[in-house]
Amino acid sequence: MASKPKPEHVSVMRSQLGRVRGLGAARSGSHHWKAERVTAVALVPLSLWFVFAVLTHLGAPQPEVAAWAGRPVNAALLLALIIMTFQHMRLGLQVVWEDYLHHAGRREAAILATSGACLLLGLIAAVAVLKLAAMAH
C-alpha cells in the first residue's frame, strides 16, 4: 500500500514556524554542555575546600570528624560537593558512553545504569551528611 509521503512538519510533529523560531533543540540542545560547565565551575572551590578539609582532619578520631561534618556550614558545603560531584560525573560519563557505544540499545542502557548509580551514590552520601548534621549538637 503506497501512501503519499507526509509533509516534513507533520512527520516531526512540529510546525514550520516553531522550527524557525528556534523552539526545540535550538534552545535545549546546549543544556547538557552548559550543565557540565556549571557543575565544573562549582566544583573548583568545593573540591579545593574538600581537599583542605580532609588534610586538616587526617588521623582525627571519628567523633571529631562527625562533629566537624555536622556543623551547618560544613554539612551544607558537603551536600553541595556531593550534588555537584555526582551530577558532573553523570553528565561526563554519559558523554563517554555516547562516544564509545555505537549500539543504541546498549548505549541507552549504559547511560541509564550510570545515571541511576550516580543518583543512588549521591543520595547515600547526602543522607549520611544529613544524619551527621542531625546528630551534631
Binding site: A40, V44, S47, L55, Q62, T85, M89, A128
Partner: protein
C-alpha cells in the same frame, strides 16, 4: 600486498572500491600532539575520579555510622593499596581540575591561540605534580606532627 606498511595506505574512493594512497593521521604512525595527550588524560582522570567517588561516599557513610566503620575505612586508606588509590585520586583530581580550568578558559575564548596550546599543556602537568606533592607533604606533616 608484500609490504606490511601498505596496509596503512588502503583507503576507500568516493565511488566505492579500495584505492592505495597515503592516509592522513593514522594511529600507528601519528606523533601524539601534547594537546591530544592532555585531552585523553582529562577524560581518563574523569573516569578515575568517578571510581574514586566511592571513597567520598565511604568516608561520609563511615563517619555517620560510628567509630568501628570509620576505623575500617581508615584501615583501608592506610593500607598500601589504599595509599596507592589515594595518590592516584589526588593526582587525578588536580589534573582534572587544572585541565578543566583550561577547558573553561577555552570555552570563553581565551588561551586558544596556537603558540599557547603546548606550553599550557606542560603547565598543567607541572601544576598537577606540584599540587600532588604539596598535598602529600602536608598530609605527612599532619600525621607526623
Amino acid at each position: 600486498m608484500n609490504d606490511i606498511r601498505k596496509a596503512q595506505m588502503v583507503g576507500r574512493s568516493t565511488e566505492s572500491g579500495l584505492v592505495q594512497r597515503p592516509l592522513s593521521p593514522h594511529i600507528n604512525i601519528y606523533r601524539w600532539p601534547p594537546t591530544m595527550v592532555a585531552s585523553i588524560l582529562n577524560r581518563a582522570t574523569g573516569i578515575a575520579l568517578s571510581a574514586g567517588s566511592l571513597l567520598l561516599v565511604w568516608w561520609v557513610v563511615a563517619a555517620a555510622s560510628g567509630p568501628a566503620a570509620f576505623s575500617a575505612m581508615e584501615g583501608f586508606v592506610r593500607s598500601p593499596v589504599g595509599l596507592l588509590l589515594m595518590l592516584g585520586w589526588t593526582a587525578s583530581l588536580f589534573y582534572h581540575l587544572f585541565g578543566g580550568l583550561r577547558h573553561l578558559a577555552w570555552d570563553m575564548g581565551y588561551l586558544f591561540a596556537k603558540p599557547s596550546l603546548n606550553p599550557l599543556t606542560y603547565a598543567i602537568l607541572v601544576l598537577t605534580a606540584a599540587a600532588t606533592v604539596v598535598v602529600w607533604l602536608a598530609a605527612y606533616a599532619t600525621i607526623e606532627g
